[in-house]
Amino acid sequence: MISYRRISKAVLLSSLLFLGASFAMTATAQDGKTLFSTNCASCHAVHKKLTGPALAGVEDRWPDKAKLHAWVKNSAAFLKTGDTYANNLYVEFNKTSMTQFPGLADKDIDAILAYIKTVPAPGSEKPAAGAGAPAAEGDNTLLFGVLSLILAVVALILMQVNSNLKKLANERAGEPNETPVSFWKHKSYITLGTILLFIVGGYLTTKGAMGLGRSQNYQPVQPIYYSHKVHAGINQINCLYCHGGAQEGKHSNIPSVNICMNCHLAINEYKGEKIYTEEGVEVNGTAEIQKLYKYAGFEFGKLWDATQAKPIEWTRIHNLPDHVYFNHSQHVKAGKVQCQTCHGDITKMDEVKQFADLSMGWCINCHRETKVQFKDNGFYSIYEKYHQDLKSGKIDSTKGITVESIGGTECQKCHY
């Protein structure tokens, strides 16, 4: 028993130690990953030559770790020491000096090196199995339509049968039959038909007229198959990283090519799960990145001359009429409204489609229900009466001060 206990103790201790050690190691690699992506990734990849050399095996190439540290921290100063390898490297990469990282401590650099070792070479990595396109949700409208049509035909037949039977019954009883009127001449049928036509026609006309100029679910094909799902969803890039204008001005700008190239200088291949177009055709992500490179005038592995870039002509999805003034920053910055509120779950859309109908009714509804940042934003301190009423309970605090209560549904808030 005792020996067992001792053994178990030893096992427990050693496993704890091992666990702790491995935890410490993964922690380093984890830190290294973050550090790598924030500091190095814009110029280096692990297994690929970018603006700078591929970093796999860097430690073998730099036997003296102290030198490597010095190089990373201040490459220009290190070059002056006359190190042959460093100078050759400098020449090889068109005399582009490496950015200085005086802020990186030695252990940070080691963490990065540790991370580099953990990255498997391409090819050895197994792509994650694609979840596959979700089964299209059945649209039952057609089924219902067919069913109603069948039922209507059945009803008509039954009515005819009924009238024929009635006729026969009358004949048998010897009662006189009404002169038969064909049903398209029958007044009640005509009336019924007219009313039906009027209602259906009126409904369609009104709906059509109201829908003029609206384009909900508009999903044009873009010059580059750009997947928001991959960028904003899977890779969790903040919306405002690319659409920064949304918090500064009225337009939420489409990012310029240089914003794309911030990341795509390094990322030239798509290796994520398979993506499909709406039609179910598989999209070659890498080919789409090549399209971007064509616009950018960039050849992978070479230096990028940003002045060679040409703008990408995206197709505009969200269009408001000219007489509407809409300001993104009003909503995003002042109102703290989430992008998804109006644009839908963009992180799940490969190709973006217009989520809301962008009708005035839709705007107004939201303005009626949405609370403003009444207490948090100093601007509203001038609404002294409302503040008092909120305190005294005169205004329902659960409903709060909505956009409407401060005049947000008045004409000249959006039309001028």
């Binding site: 204008g245 489409i254 090519v257 990408i312 300001n327 009466k385 005049g407 008045e410 001028y416």
Partner: protein, 1031 residues
Amino acid sequence: MEQKKIWQSFGELNQSEAYNKDVKDEFKEELPFVAEEGKSFLEAKAPRRDFLKYLGFSTAAAAAAASCEMPVKKSIPFANRPEDIVPGVSKYYATTYVQDGDVVSVVAKVRDGRPIKLEGNDLSPVTGGGTSARVQASVLDLYDTARLRFPTINGSEVTFDAADKSIADALKDNRNVVVLTSTITSPTTKDAIAQFLAKYPGGRHVTYDAVSYSGMLLANELTYGKKAIPSYQFNNAKAIVSIGADFLGTWLSPVEFAKQYATGKKINEKNPSMSKHIHFESVASLTGSNADEKYLHRPSETGAIAAALLSAVNGAAITGISNEKLKAGIAKAAKELLENKGAALVVSGSNDVNVQVIVNAINEAVGAGGKTINWASTLNYRQGVDADFAQLVEDMNAGKVGALLIHGANPAYTWYDADKFVAGLKKVTTSISFNTKVDETATLCKFVLPDHHFLESWGDAEAKSGYYSLIQPTIYPLFKTRQWQDSLLKWSGDSKDYLAVVKNYWSAKVGGETGWDKALQAGVINPTTIANPTGASFNSSAVAAAVAAVSSAKKGGKIELVLYEKIGIGAGQGASNPWLQELPDPVTRATWDNYVIVSPAMAKTLLNIDLNDNGQADAYEVNPPKKVVKVTVNGKSIELPALIIPGTQVDTIGIAVGYGRSENIGKAAAGVGKNAFPLASLAGASVNFSNADVTVVATEEKYPVALTQTHSRYDTAQGNRTEVMKEISLAEYKANPTEIREDREAELKPYGGLEKFEGQGTIYPVYDRPGIKWGMSVDLNSCNGCGACVVACNAENNVSVVGKPEVLRGHEMHWLRIDRYYSGDMENPNVVFQPLMCQHCDNAPCENVCPVAATNHSSEGLNQMTYNRCIGTRYCANNCPYKVRRFNWADYTGADSFPDNQEGIVNDVVLNMSDDLTRMVLNPDVTVRSRGVIEKCSFCVQRLQESKLNAKKESRPMVDSDLKVACQQSCPTNAINFGNANDKNSAVSKVRVDNPNRQFYVLEQLHVLPNVTYLAKVRNQDEEKKEGAHA
């Protein structure tokens, strides 16, 4: 109380039949579908069948148009977005408006790479953020379709390289090179000219100003030994006497002077005091209209008046003046000047050296030097001496000029003897023009190398010595143009471009690169300490001769002539600008023309129009065609329509220069008015813009003039016109400060009096205004009617230009108009200007008559106008007591989908405004209105929304400095205050609290509850001229 008669038009003064009919009917058009009398509806012009056809067609067309596919729009981002540019967010760059010597520091609002609006630069101590109508309009000149888009040789396009080569050949061994410019205020440009001329020995630089100040420059040289113009400090003056100097409108630096002048006119209610301004003039001017007292004289008497005033301030008797009124005026002016010694100022607009010498002597006698006149800093706006240019013309004709390089100056149009100049120019082998358009002079030049617009240029300007203003480009050059300084530098063999020159020059002075960046950001470089005014030693030896000269001057003939500049058009620079052409002249309220100004008395003798005769006054006033008169001066004659303007001397006529320009400079200038420059003459060393003996005969012809004075009138039993304006004399105001308030109280008594009027005067409820309530206050004492706000409003709010034919029909679209009111004597009345825009009534009569609720009220007190709801019934305009609503009678902006809506309906000028280039000036935050909708002042709601948003983003309450509406920003005199009236600390609240006695609402008794308050005009007049009662 005695009813004071305030009137806008002669019909109103006489209460004529036509006037009374007119004011009841806002829209004078007959309905288009009206049936002819006695005919059945079927036979009418548009019978029922046609109506049904149109109905059917329009329904089908609408359906067809609607079923079209939605157009696919592209969204094209930058390839590389510059870090500091956010699409849709405006950037502001300090730069400087420069035109022929005029300099105003401005801030350009640049939206998505396009300058769309100019604002005054608050950091400039010279203009203090003020602007003028011409500054405001200059942004439109940038997008002028008539600009020359490439360099030319003999009219055909070449590249700059080719032009440089030919010019280098032409200038080689050229001995007599002359650089002819309008006044240059830029030190670096002067250096560049000097450097260029150094390469061509024997060359010289001649400065020529279309309307020169030679008289002043030479007089100052005689008496002070300086050929310069000192600074004036109207703000230090308690007594101002002007002998024909239109210093608020067109004289030297009107923006600066208007600001200074207004400080003397603003009233502190607790301790009311004002400067006194006595004005002598021959033809009604803006400054004369604002004067406290105005005396009329013949132009030929100018010298005599100056001499008499000099003898009066020296204590001697007034001689040489026969007119008793005038004599009394001179005595009064002398008395005021002497009483305010050391705080007195005399200015004169005369271009006669002798008159200016005498004026200098008067200023010395009243101690103006070092107080109201500052020699420490000179005004550099005009430096040309006419004699120099006359000599140049002689030299050219004598073949003594080898090459002539012209920038800015346009003597083929502005020189009185243009034919001689043109003849001389033909003898110059190498003529080069840098003008931006193929104007009258450039078209005669062999080489034309168009200069940039100032918004595309680098540069500097020293309008007032020691006060610099920098110019930086706000847009990439639109066309193949080049800064003319670059050309000069290139031709003088300098490898640096002008930007490098400017940068080096200033970096050395303001502390290197950082200093330069800072200066560029501020736009101005000011002296570190603003020195006190200093005088200069006066040499009186020339005075006696001057007095003798003016005393022996030729007496005037039967009728005399004055040529003057208009605020908008100037010496013709504004002629191609549609905004300026459509800006009603403050004095005559006429647009799109020049004309002969005659006095009511002369109208009787010359035109057979007796304004006291109802029928004749109506016939004159109601019908746009005015009688044409023929004016003959020294054998040259000009035929122009005659306008009757009270406040004009009986035997004097006035004609504005700047009209009758070549159609090459733009559609707006083509065929508008006639050129009056040939009527001037050279007298000694300076051009004389008046003539003492002219003949005027009436012709049989008539010519329509688009006068806006009789538009937008309103008169009913409920709202009588006379109550729109409140004016009072200072003496009366001092005697009874609460008079205006008492009047209001008496008037509102039946409805609860002043205090309870809002609640008791109506059956409507009184609404809460939580948060913000916008309010405006307009000080009529500060406002001088200059019209900067009208053009600023045009630019900010995409207000359309309608063209002369439409103005004739009363269709002008200005959201803000400046009404001109007369009171008193018909020959020499008091004039008051009142800016009138939508009053944003809290109980607005327009709102409850709109059948579709297109106009309604906001919780912030705005009277909102929603264009897309508007169906164009015009009920609102009909029901508006202020007549500030405007209807789009035609598709002025090209906003409609069908181009046919414009063709044949609007004229060329309006069509040109919807050119793709011109449309770049539009403010993208303001809807461009289409045909058939009403529009009106929105209190610049786009600015209000922006300022609120900025405050929200910073999580703080809004303050005054967040916001200036366009009219307020442009105003050189700060007459307009705007802000949140709920905020006790806002400027508008303070003005209202501080001025309870002068404050009034226009047509208050209607209980429309306007959100615009006015402060009554107080005129510094004595009791004997007692005016001031009002209804």
